[in-house]
Symmetry: C2
Subunit: 264 residues, 2 copies
DNA sequence: GGCAGAAGTTCCATTATGTGGAACCGAATT
DNA sequence: AATTCGGTTCCACATAATGGAACTTCTGCC
């Protein structure tokens, strides 16, 4: 595995499971239930094979099929994830600190983890909003345009950083979205200050300040952030909050070391 | 497949996937990260086999392994579930009605679906409390001691009802928890009134009233409920709310029929 | 420090499982 | 009645999973 050029060598090394996961991804990523033919057309597998594979996934509850033969994600996924979330050590350690940060700032606080080239949100604490919106938890967002993502990148060694950036397709979400070059340039600043800003780079009108969280061996990299509407979160305000955010990150890391965190 | 006695015939019919799911379940159900040996001791597979299987699951992100070689559920599960939840048709249809019911009662409203002998909570709307998403969502509870569960059972044909009850191991959570016989006896009442009560049967001090929701072909069975502390939810209060709960269920069903629901 | 035992990893001949082309079915469509 | 389309079933074949055993790496423990 320590062959310098690890380019795209890792394609499909999980045998049967890999093929099934491709299907699962296909169905969960679709914005509507898919018919057998739709999936067949995706070209992954021949008819007979596909039919059996889908059958197995349905049997296990990972997919569901309705009367019209349309496939959607199954409840089993929720069940598995629920447990996975409830018992996640990192999240449990972070929870009280996130709450404290929310109280202090009054804005929404996020906890995220780097996974491949995406940030997965592990937790979210909002104020008293009566209206609950899209939960966000479990949601995967691109690294390069989220505070947590940029913060996480900043602690990676150059080698891993470059490898990761190389495999990302940069998409322009707002006029402020970073390109690969801009992102790399920004790393220096983030490394020295220990805080990353999202200046409406993912969504117009949304700003955020984030700090990285990482395990010693970098097997684990993530971050914590405060997010809010630009009209409330002026840049001065964001700067003010950089410090509490960094402190929160520091406390979580200290909890990980002393606690049950991913240690060696 | 149409062999009248479909008893326990369905064991392990999903080949390789089935074996992997057993492992996934094992790890997600454990209350701590498991070592290789722990899983080996569960006796499912011989060493070599198990090693490769775990490797594949880790590779796909369904499991994670820390520096100490301890396995826990992976982030990929959250990612998959998040999408599955966000786009769930049934949940989307129900959402506004759940909110309305919450407003009306001021108590916590749940939306659940029957899956095997468990109720999986699909959504939860609480009052002003900072919403902890996933606190309950995806959670699997026994059918026989939750309002939603009992409501759901009441719309099943006797045959399916009996089969289901036969395979459940009844556990006594509180002095009020129903036995199989009591549950069956109660069905008559629930069927005629269209409402099911949980009179502190799952947790002491918690009551709830629920109404069933089902698709015509019964491919889908669930329910909606209002839950709260016994001191606020007196039995008279619960009776008062039976009607709005039934109405909410009716509205959701009507939404399913006209909307994109699981129709034929 | 070195030894013993346990925990974890790798190997590879065997075989069970998944594969996929082709035939089949049934319900819409013309 | 004939045709197409979406879905399901079948079965000889190839591939991927299996699992026993050998090997390596970690842990104390003396």
């Amino acid at each position: 595995m320590i062959d310098g050029s690890n380019e795209m060598t890792q394609q499909r090394e999980t045998g049967t499971l890999g093929k099934l996961m491709v299907l699962l991804d296909l169905v969960t990523h679709a914005d509507r239930p898919l018919r057998f033919t739709d999936i067949l057309a995706a070209g992954e597998q021949p008819r007979g094979t596909l039919h059996r594979q889908l059958g197995h996934l349905v049997e296990e509850g990972l997919l569901e099929i309705d009367g019209d033969g349309r496939y959607s994600p199954g409840l089993r996924l929720l069940e598995l994830a629920s447990r996975s979330w409830a018992r996640n050590e990192f999240r449990l350690i972070a929870e009280p600190h996130l709450n404290a940060l929310q109280q202090l700032t009054g804005e929404t606080v996020h906890l995220g983890v780097l996974r491949g080239a995406s940030v997965i949100y592990l937790d979210k604490v909002e104020g008293r909003q009566p209206v609950r919106m899209y939960s966000q938890i479990g949601n995967a967002s691109p690294v390069y345009c989220t505070g947590v993502g940029k913060a996480a990148l900043s602690v990676l060694p150059d080698e891993r950083l470059n490898a990761l950036i190389a495999e990302v397709a940069f998409q322009r979400f707002t006029p402020n979205t970073r390109t690969a070059e801009m992102l790399l340039a920004e790393m220096e600043e983030i490394r020295s200050t220990g805080a990353a800003f999202d200046r409406e780079e993912h969504e117009v009108g949304i700003r955020c300040v984030a700090a990285p969280i990482w395990s010693e061996d970098l097997s684990f990299v993530g971050g914590v952030s405060v997010t809010g509407p630009a009209y409330r979160l002026t840049m001065e305000r964001l700067n003010e909050w950089a410090d509490p955010v960094r402190q929160t990150a520091a406390r979580i890391m200290s909890g990980m070391r002393s606690g049950l965190g991913p240690r060696r």
